[in-house]
Symmetry: D3
Subunit: 326 residues, 6 copies
């Protein structure tokens, strides 16, 4: 069954990947002790779609979900923030979930994945809204998607090549997850995809540990672009900011100060805002700046998603962080 | 500011009206005693849009909202159930709210409106997505909308006439609210709109108290159709079921048994499902049946909205209400 | 330490007794399973004071409380409903609590008292606002109070005699609690108090089991009045209604239908409304009617307290229980 | 009174099966709309162990669980009610979960299983505490367990035969689940187990639909006992009560009236109490009576588990359901 | 309708202004995402009344409220903290509300007012308890009140002049709110009121931005006192402490360290405690010290209100902040 | 891995003391304002038993509790974390409770005990599982227990002497509580117990203020050991770490950095982990290190109890505190 929400207009950005139900005890409670769980929809690629939408882009998230209240709960949790969804509904496969225990140091925040055999892992090319992807300016997925199944590994390659071939810019975040695969597995799989990618985002740490790059962030960006002919390479560096290589030039951006309420989704917020700016034809420096500001705001918001407004991002960019506004 | 979510595809049904934030104490708590309020989006016309969508129609709700977190909360609370929204965002006017105190008898459930000067009350014709309305098969609003302001009284007339003139079927529920206007005011205003309406829904009680009709439900339906040349007249009778007059014929439907959790929105659920069936070219009898089944399900669901699936409605229609499904 | 909230104006009604913190698991949860407890202030005499106030009387609740957040929580939970409080604050004695497990049948609702050694059990005559009591039209306490300690047993006798001697009408509800004393103990103690009581309220069951009366409710009322020279005797009969003997006449009142959310405090709501009407110089029949209506409303409200308005009570009296008011 | 939890004692009853995490929206909320889920441990065999323990038996639940916060949450949710647990912890396999949507009619309560590939499905004989099972008086599992995997199908047969061979009475509830297997599959698998079962419990409906029996409940019980040489056969009939065949004799018991808060686990409560009575050497009639009373109480309690006391059960048996106890 | 809670005793302090219902998502949730709102009563002048009461003063808050559950909820939320209320109940006008989103930096805390057309905006002199105000030692309102409507602008002037003329000391906090009026409007209106004010409180920032003062805090205080003949001028400086000019002398006080849970109401807590000390005939230095300590405590407490005890304030003043007290 | 919960084994550690119900408002709410309380089981000796169990020891907590839902709630709240309980159930005496108000500085966290006349205060020697204590390797109680009643003062002495005489190592934490007794009373009582104690734990502050020791931590440890012939003395120093004297040698350990969510139970977590290591025949240095790591983790967890795993403790010991684990 395919939802009928097909839109003929040009979507700016289509993202594809797994979105899970995120189950977390309130406050700093332990799973072992809790009697309630907070429920949210959460996934790297839908996070990116929402962040981009909040900055002004028309975005769609495509995926495959079980035709059940759980799958519908995922869609509800994404559409509420304004994006469109295009779902291949199925009776096969589970709804992936993850349990999140927030903990201060030295306990730390802990993630327990329960995503094996999710419906999304069987996604084939014709489960995806190829028309929308081809018509979009940008297509995005991350390194989590091919890590989920060998079917997805193939599908991601196919859709990236198809998109690129039909004129859609392809963007990709390495997004390495050690609970899904080893660095060696990831490197082999991802480098197979690289020829089909125009814009690469990678954490500096992933560039080193997974892609085997060395040198500083600039060397990493220049080296990756040189080796794989990426149009743009963005290297994210956590609290050290971010750096981009584009058109032979290096752009740098420091991180904005932020008091963290929920760190999950910070990188996705950055990428979503960066892509929205680029879709808006803002220059790379501005895109980095908006990305960093959106990431800083994200950390103040519970859940995976950057529920921000463009105006709020602009206030951070302008460092106009005043007292209580009343 | 207009949201950019314009869709070129043909929407089946566009509804227009006010959606409020509904604030209600949990359980049967009194407002005077409560320290928390449950927050939901709630409005007759968005309720209808959602019920119709859940039965399979492509629907859009159009309105005017304050450009604030409150207005965005309304959109979030509607889009999560799958419909599209087309909003004229404004800096003028409030977000309407209503406070709902659930009470068992003899206390009863009490509604306190705080909707004066809502942004929606200033809606003019060009705030509405006329293109979408003209392209839709069906346009719907209810008697609440013209009751909210004289501007809206004019706008409702204009949009109904415009829709009807451009080939969109117009549907209208009398939906009398004594806290908004007197029966005499309502009758005068609504009968002005009747020539532009193709499908009229009215509670039997409203037909008597507001429209001044007498006789039984069949006489009311036949009389209204005769006087105003409605294509279809549906008379709802609460637990006594519903009756429709269409094409010279009378159709009757009893109500399904239901154990009520939240009665608000029952009529809207009925109308939405009725319209979805008619859009699907189901016959009037089937539409009444699905309407009644959806209404019965609505009463089991907290909030104004019929968060149902077509499959659930069909199980009620088939009276296949089994034990716990496991 | 005495709170300084002394008021020179004439209070209509002063009540005296223990108010506890009531701790109850949400919904129908068992104490053994719950991780949260709902917290409310609850006590027969403060319930009566609030019900009377809600019907229009100026009322004050007097008691002795520990000078701690727990004692202050009690005052907060009563003052919020409009009554005045006059507290003898002390560093000796506990804050009484009770745990309430709501259960449907056959489990039933269960109360676990933890009220031993409460500060109130040491209340002596000069802990009470005798000036206010003497100036009031009515003084009320119930059979729970003398059951709590021998000090209280003495104090209750003293204050009733003092009030009566200074022209304040004295009202008393037998309110037998089997977890506090035996029927024989109660009978001996209460009959010592009867000469100082003008208006007696008793459940029919308590009249039989504790006071040893026989015959029907009318015989009980007439007999008690004859034996103890009460000005008024009210016999409450649960769902069978209530009956009063006053001035040689018998008045009867049936109970109003009600769908129960929380049964605790029903009798107190009845008494408070009855007393408010009598303070207002309404006749006994009207007082019974308002008492019954207030009791019916109380059962729709979570907590011990009748958080009603006079208008709501009047609507029940008029049986104007309509549909959702909107 | 001293609890009997002295460590060297013989356990009366060991049960074995899957216990899941049960995730349910509060009140009657839909999964699609909820932002929180209530979390409880729930499984037929642990339900039986707890019900038996609450009636006085020393019981242990054995199973295989993932060595994760989720598996530990299951143990926490069972041990809190007093039973012992004996767990084979593993790094392979998921924690089974189920989502429960409570709904009044005609919506009904809905269960969504997410239990595929649970750790328990790989349980082999040496994962089980055979020493404890052999030493126990009674061993219990239900028809859910062999339905979960072919490994479990084998293991259940092996453990039943081992237990029976070493002198432990074996008890088994058919407990057919249509979401796990077909009636034909169930019949074939279960009848293979029947020779190793001493005490069989079956819903009358399962006896007909799964086991293919006909006639009334007595005929079913007599027939099953005759065909398979069961020492005891109990036929449960929902609100129509229960019937047992034992030692050539038929025992009947009607159901106790109950106002349902949560129906899940009713049958398990019945079985647990029945077994506890039999362990206590109560006669079959008494066991049926206590089983029915415990089942009635269970329905008043949120969650799968009969959190009751023996005293409460005895009060129901004695029909001593009074008013609020205070 | 006027509440009958008239008290003949001398109230120390009467405050007058608007108190709103404050609606805030739990934790750091966004309004757009939340399904519940916490509900509290909140307003500058009632905050001041409560803070003063907690320090020992007899205080009353006077205002005009809608005769509805919303208006009664405001009274409940204030009376619970011990103050008296004197309300002009009306059927005209709304209950003002405000939505509060708590956010860490760089998002920040955001306030959304929904207070237009509140009942309080129509308050005229005879809606106020002039007898109580004239009998009180002190009358207080703030610059928010005249900003709400032109009627209030007049009424505030009238009541200040009436109070001052009848021997009640008048106190006023500039309390500039940029969402209500411009600095120029505020200055014009407030300076009209200054001749009727004995004790002025102003934030240093407001003194500069609204009143157009320059120089340091001392120069501001001296200058204002010189220009307008205030008996006392208090200049608050946030984390830099506070300074007062009185009787030709300057008093300074640094702020106490505090870990902020909720910053709203800090200034009101300061003012309330300052006034309570002055009513107690404490010297200005002590009043500043208690004001600062109360402000520091307020920031540790959720909600607008300083729910403190005098003993707690004294412990802060004495810097006796020990470890967990147990 | 198989859990070691086999019934016939020797328990490693038995602890004895009072466990209360802990009632705390959510977040930083004040008791005076809250409408809900969080409920947990909490007591020094059960905290120690749980911490030791989580590190791998087989532990049992013994006590006397009221035979009521409240007493059973205590057992549920302990058994859920894996320990065994051995309870003398009684109808005499209350369930002790304590109210906990979390507050940031300068308000601070406040504890209000309501533990007078708890059932535990009547515990005599034969209420305790002497067989289990004699069979255990270690018996533990703290200075809170003898402070609760003179009966307990005797019982603690008897059980310590009995345990020591039968070869069970006795461990004791001074745990001085100023709300229970004076330093002089504590010193007199505790020093009477010292001859029966093998392993003494004391806060450095208690050593000075209660035991009258002087010098630095090492001098305190050496002095106590010399004077009372303790086998081991541990001196805890809060954020300054801990020090132990054993077998003539001094061992020191600094504290691990931690971001505190709930400070209650930190010391008990330290002691439990220290004892578990010693039971495991780890050396004193390792035991101090694990104790400190467990204490640091405890502070990240709501409630009194160290709900940790041995693996988590080992990660802290290894300082392997990484980013989000996913």
């Amino acid at each position: 069954m395919r939802s009928a929400n097909l839109v003929a207009h040009m979507t700016d950005l289509v993202t594809f990947g797994e979105t899970m139900l995120r189950l977390s005890p309130p406050n700093s409670e332990r799973i072992e002790s809790t009697s309630t769980l907070e429920l949210r929809a959460a996934g790297a690629e839908s996070n990116v779609a929402i962040a981009a939408h909040r900055l002004g882009a028309e975005t769609m998230w495509a995926s495959k979900l079980p035709d059940s209240p759980l799958g519908r709960r995922v869609v509800a949790g994404l559409r509420q923030y304004g994006i469109d969804t295009e779902i291949a509904w199925t009776d096969d496969g589970r709804q992936g979930t993850y349990y999140l225990e927030h903990g201060t140091d030295p306990r730390g925040t802990n993630v327990i994945y329960d995503r094996a055999d999710a419906a999304v892992t069987t996604t084939e090319l014709d489960d995806l809204p190829l028309g929308s992807i081809r018509d979009a300016k940008l297509f995005y997925t991350s390194g989590i998607t091919p890590a989920l199944s060998s079917t997805l590994e193939s599908t991601v390659g196919e859709v990236l090549r198809d998109a690129q071939a039909t004129g859609t810019t392809t963007a990709f975040d390495v997004n390495y997850r050690s609970k899904l695969w080893s660095p060696a597995e990831a490197r082999e799989s991802l480098t197979d995809l690289f020829p089909a990618i125009d814009l690469l985002v990678t954490a500096e740490r992933d560039a080193r540990d997974v892609l085997g790059r060395s040198g500083d962030a600039e060397e990493i960006a220049r080296g990756l672009a040189a080796d794989w002919d990426f149009e743009t390479v963005v290297v994210t560096r956590g609290s050290a900011g971010a750096l981009a290589f584009h058109d032979g030039e290096i752009f740098e951006q420091s991180a904005f100060d932020t008091e963290t309420v929920d760190p999950i989704g910070t990188g996705d917020a950055f990428v979503g805002a960066f892509l929205a700016c680029r879709l808006d034809e803002e220059d790379v420096q501005t895109a980095l700046e908006y990305g960093s500001a959106t990431a800083a705001l994200k950390r103040t918001i519970p859940g995976d998603v950057a529920v921000v407004t463009r105006e709020e991002v602009e206030r951070v960019v302008a460092s106009d962080v005043s007292e209580i506004s009343r």
